[in-house]
């Protein structure tokens, strides 16, 4: 329990230390450090191929780092599915850290509701009724209560992505990883998805957001990280990073967005 008198610094929820990732001869991450405090929203921006997606996938071990470590609430995450000794298993990590993907990856053979309760029933072993209650709560929060029995192929891209967010939230995770979740959407559908994410940020959800939506990143983030060539080139408050950049490469990168 935190003491009442001294407001302690928020606990680090998820931490990456010295993450190195290679694909064959190509090194795509050259030792990335990032600590995510409870309630913090961190956006990662950078040019294509800078390694930001690979990095966020390392944070829940969908990509196994070649060096470095991922820690969840101080416990190092091991490479096996279940924990061993003092190591947390990958499976356990992923129960606490949700992810939303660029291409939604909804399960096409299941309805909206079935997609969302799959984690609670199969992984968390919750009774179906309890899972449905939690799921419907989140499905309603993303504004799709009337679509509970629809199949993914009957939904628009924006609706699919909102279902994917509800699917991640229904696991009641400690943190969310959002990997370019608006990049595959038609421009007119981006807003509805970002609206949901903005709501989550306001409610204090801990998030890492890989995005090309620079102004959105500036709006919702506590911290913006600029990656380039597999390294963190710059990081800081949205104001410092996005409105008054002093890094030349960052300026060049931002100029492309500001036209």
């Amino acid at each position: 329990m935190t003491s009442v008198s001294t407001p302690a610094a928020p606990e680090t929820v998820l931490e990456a230390r010295g993450i190195v990732k290679r694909f064959g001869a190509l090194t795509v991450l050259h030792g990335i450090d990032l600590a995510l405090a409870g309630g913090e929203v961190v956006s990662i921006i950078g040019p294509s191929g800078s390694g930001k997606s690979t990095f966020i996938r390392c944070m829940n071990m969908l990509e196994a780092p070649d060096a470095g470590e991922i820690r969840f609430r101080g416990r190092q995450v091991g490479s096996s599915f279940r924990g061993k000794g003092d190591r947390l298993g990958q499976g356990e990590l992923r129960r606490h850290v949700g992810m939303v993907f660029q291409h939604f990856n909804l399960f096409p053979h299941m309805s909206v509701l079935e997609n969302v309760i799959e984690g609670p029933t199969t992984v968390q072993r919750k009774p179906r009724k309890e899972a449905v209650d939690i799921a419907m709560d989140y499905i309603a929060k993303v504004g799709l209560a009337e679509k509970r029995d629809a199949r993914p192929d009957q939904l628009s891209g924006g609706q699919k992505q909102r279902v994917a967010i509800a699917r991640a939230l229904t696991m009641q995770p400690d943190a969310l990883l959002l990997d370019e979740i608006t990049s595959a959407l038609d421009p007119e559908l981006v807003g509805e998805v970002l609206g949901v994410v903005r709501g989550l940020a306001e409610q204090g959800m801990t998030m890492v957001i890989v995005t090309h939506e620079i102004s959105f990143a500036a709006d919702v983030s506590d911290r913006v990280v600029f990656m380039e060539g597999g390294r963190i080139a710059e990081q800081g408050s949205p104001d410092g990073i996005l409105r008054n950049p002093d890094n030349e490469r960052l300026k060049t990168f931002l100029a492309r967005f500001h036209g």
């Binding site: 992923r94 129960r95 053979h109 199969t122 992984v123 699917r167 991640a168």
Partner: protein, 220 residues
């Protein structure tokens, strides 16, 4: 002008019926065994364990790259010499048909499974599912739908292939037709009835396969 006469053939109707029954038995049982072995082969191929993968692949290539008739002859006449004990013709037939089916079904399964987008497994893993849960809940239900047409095609082929075991005197449909021919000296009628029987059984099945295929396409 040839005068058709089915009367002598009709007297042997019970032989044809019995033969058809035996053909169906060999088809169904070799498909059942082939499915189990094929699934094991497929998982061996996808296991990511080198030796297991090579072994399974070697087995598959062996059965895919030699004629079924040659396999049948080898297992019936040659294998017993290696093993030092006799193999009954029905056992040799069942073993050969089952192994042959397994090699092909394994490929049908593997094709279905690897055709499922990687994002599906990742989405399953991302909510904390184990590899087996991902396979059972996410990948297989989608893969099975997708592999149905290939599975039915392969099974139709399996049905027709059972005619080869007549060569080692298993009394299935084709063998019975040659018996009837021997008794009646009416090859035209005997073998026409034989062909019509195969067709009558398989035609509805292939139509069914077409319906399944079009529905699968409509689905996703």
């Amino acid at each position: 002008m040839y005068t058709w006469s089915f009367a002598p053939i009709a007297q042997s109707a019970d032989l044809f019926l019995w033969g058809a029954w035996i053909t169906i038995l060999y088809t169904v049982s070799s498909i059942a065994i082939g499915l189990v072995l094929g699934l094991l082969l497929c998982f061996a191929r996808l296991s990511g364990i080198g030796p297991l993968n090579w072994l399974a692949q070697g087995f598959q290539e062996l059965f895919r790259c030699t004629p079924l008739l040659v396999q049948l002859l080898w297992i019936y006449y040659a294998l017993p010499l290696l093993l030092g004990f006799d193999l009954a013709n029905w056992a040799a037939a069942l073993i050969t048909l089952s192994l042959y089916a397994a090699a092909f079904y394994a490929e049908v399964f593997r094709g279905g499974i690897v055709s499922i987008d990687r994002g599906q497994s990742e989405a399953g893993a991302a909510i904390g599912m184990s590899g087996w849960q991902v396979m059972r809940r996410i990948v297989l239900p989608q893969a099975i739908r997708r592999m149905m047409p290939a599975f039915i095609n392969q099974s139709v082929t399996q049905f027709k292939n059972t005619s080869l075991i007549s060569v080692i005197s298993v009394a299935e449909l084709t063998y019975m037709a040659s018996i009837v021919n021997g008794q009646t000296y009416r090859p035209l009628e005997s073998y026409t009835v034989l062909a019509v029987l195969y067709f009558a059984i398989l035609f509805p099945i292939t139509k069914f396969a077409d319906i399944v295929e079009s529905r699968t396409r409509g689905g996703h």
